[in-house]
């Protein structure tokens, strides 16, 4: 995950409190989605950025997950996200992000 975005999320968590934040991401494949999810829950796994060893534990979802999709009017979702929903492997992405969420809640 981009190091500057890590810094931004860390700052937002400090400013608004972790309990008031949800991360909705839009990374383009399962691996990078998983990395983003891991970074904002258990810390930067690459040990390169500001979230290294920082366990924010933020709930994280991908825009292609049904939990997010159901909150967006379908016409707007189709117009804004529909093309990428078709282009990307939405199931693999959802599985990867859900896995990180499940691990975090189990922990």
């Amino acid at each position: 995950m981009d190091l500057e975005n890590q810094a931004r999320i860390k700052k937002l968590a400090e400013q608004y409190g972790r309990e008031n934040l949800i991360v909705v991401q839009g990374a383009g494949d399962a691996d990078s989605s998983e990395l983003v999810a891991e970074t904002v829950t258990t810390g930067d796994p690459s040990y390169a950025g500001p979230l290294t060893e920082v366990q924010l534990g933020l709930p994280v979802y991908h825009i292609l997950e049904p939990e997010v999709k159901q909150h967006v009017p379908s016409d707007i979702y189709d117009e804004q996200v529909g093309l990428m929903e078709l282009a990307l492997d939405a199931e693999a992405i959802a599985r990867a992000v859900r896995g990180i969420r499940d691990n975090a809640s189990a922990g």
Partner: protein, 482 residues
């Protein structure tokens, strides 16, 4: 008057010792103890950079489709048949590039140690395209260079462990003329000059005095504190290359700048304003080592160790070169939405509609061609792949292909990214030389070059931008065949 693509060149300069002077390393290395040493330990040798398959694609020795079949990771599977020179340019070693920086310097801001300078001048005199370089006499003593650095008025130029020169600030107070900004500008100028020399050696006309106009689309902007993007680096590069009858201007539009420049150049030629317009894109110093921390963590070489430059010649119809379809330039207007679908509909579908074509009527799409090996290591996706999937999805939504054919779409109409992280350079145009040759050899009929720009990074608007250009086989060659 139809405008045609008369040629394109692509060069790389392998500059590992400039990596610590890139924007990210400059900021991060002082923050973490030992990171500087780790950075140096992960730099590639010149031989490794030359044998790196994507670099061989960049200079034209390997076609992008062949790269797709080569074993990954490419950095571990270097090519045995690697050459410094290729059909579109060369991979210049660092010592020679320092000499080129000196030759590009009109204000005595690059100081090279006298022995080193003399040695490099001799080396460059033997270069087939650079034997006439001026400004390489003399040099400085190492004591003078050390003194300049000790007074914090310069940045070091190293060759491995050896200090061989420095880049001086051009003004004591003006941040727009600091040593790092000067090095950024001169790196763009010197690398674009090298690309222009290669271009002119490969096209007709070959005489630089026949170039009428120059458009630069380099990432950086040159100026002083009162006009930070004042310009005009195009004219500076033209002067160095002997384009004595030309003037020019700089085109700025983030990563869209190259396709904007192509559209403008083609229009200037078609209008009869100029006959021969050279487009120039120099390398980006700030982008060196942009993801170096990720590469260090993964114990792989720092792949962002090369400056890349491209030059393109657009001129009046010669009856053989691919034509630029100025009647179907794709643009993303201010009123258009920012979703992927809206962008692709504006930039891909609308221009195709004007020509009565479908998405699948273009043989190859050239989008962002960033080398995925660089980005994926940093936890970022393979950008070219995602772009091609999006185009394939759009073809599917429009009923041109079935959903099951989307994977084939990527392979057939796309290609793997092979460009280093170099600002505007990866934006579609690294395929320009390949496209011209493939069209002229009858392997493909046409190509669409599509570039997107993140205008919001300048904080002046939250808009992005996109421009596409189609080139296709010259109809005159079709008549000859029939």
């Amino acid at each position: 008057m139809t405008a045609v693509l008369k040629g394109a060149s692509s060069i790389l300069a392998h500059t590992p010792d400039l990596v610590p002077l890139g924007s990210k390393p400059t900021r991060e290395i002082p923050r973490f103890e030992g990171l500087g040493e780790q950075c140096l330990a992960h730099l590639r040798s010149y031989r490794e950079a030359v044998a790196y398959p994507p670099n061989q694609v960049f200079i034209g020795n390997i076609r992008p489709d062949e790269l797709a079949e080569m074993k990954q990771p490419w950095w571990r599977n270097l090519t045995a048949d690697a050459f410094r020179e290729g059909p579109y340019g060369e991979i210049m070693p660092q010592d020679e590039f320092y000499g080129l920086l000196k030759a590009a310097d009109a204000f005595d801001l690059i100081w090279l140690e006298e022995g080193f300078q003399s040695q490099i001048a001799a080396k460059l005199r033997l270069h087939p395209l650079l034997g006439d370089l001026k400004g390489l006499g003399g040099g400085r003593t190492i004591a003078e260079i050390r003194d300049k650095l000790a007074r914090n008025e310069a940045l070091p130029l190293n060759l491995g462990c050896d200090l061989v020169g420095c880049v001086c600030q051009a003004h004591e107070e003006d941040e727009a003329l600091s040593a790092s900004v000067i090095l950024e500008g001169l790196s763009a100028k010197a690398s674009a000059f090298l690309a222009l020399r290669h271009l002119l050696a490969r096209v007709n006309p070959t005489d630089p005095r026949d170039i009428d106009y120059l458009l630069d689309f380099s990432e950086g902007a040159v100026g002083d504190r009162y006009q930070r993007g004042g310009g005009n680096i195009a004219k500076a590069i033209g002067e160095m290359a002997g384009c004595l009858n030309a003037t020019g201007a700089d085109v700025k539009a983030f990563c869209c700048a190259p396709t904007h420049a192509i559209a403008i150049a083609a229009a200037l030629v078609q209008a009869g304003t100029f006959d021969e317009v050279a487009l120039l894109g120099g390398g980006s110093l700030p982008k060196l080592g942009m993801k170096f921390q990720f590469h260090v963590k993964k114990d792989m070489p720092i792949l962002e160790d090369t400056l890349a430059a491209i030059a393109i010649l657009i001129g009046k119809d010669d009856g053989v070169s691919p034509v630029i379809r100025t009647d179907a330039i794709g643009v993303h207007p201010i009123c258009a939405g920012a979703s992927a679908k809206e962008i692709y509909e504006e930039v891909a579908v609308k221009p195709l509609n004007k020509l009565g074509k479908r998405i699948t009527d273009i043989d190859k799409y050239s989008t962002e061609l960033h080398n995925p090996e660089i980005t994926v290591a940093a936890g970022r996706p393979d950008t070219p792949l995602i772009n091609y999937r999006a185009l394939g999805a759009l073809a599917c939504l429009r009923g041109e292909i079935g959903k099951e054919a989307m994977g084939d779409f990527v392979r057939t109409y796309g290609m793997p990214g092979f460009s280093p992280t170099q600002g505007h350079i990866p934006a579609a145009i690294p395929f320009m030389g390949h496209a011209r040759d493939m069209i002229m050899a009858g392997r493909i009929e046409n190509t669409m070059f599509m570039a997107k720009g993140s205008l919001f990074l300048a904080r002046m608007t939250d808009l992005s931008d996109a421009v596409s250009v189609i080139i296709e086989r010259n109809p005159a060659t079709r008549k000859e065949v029939s």
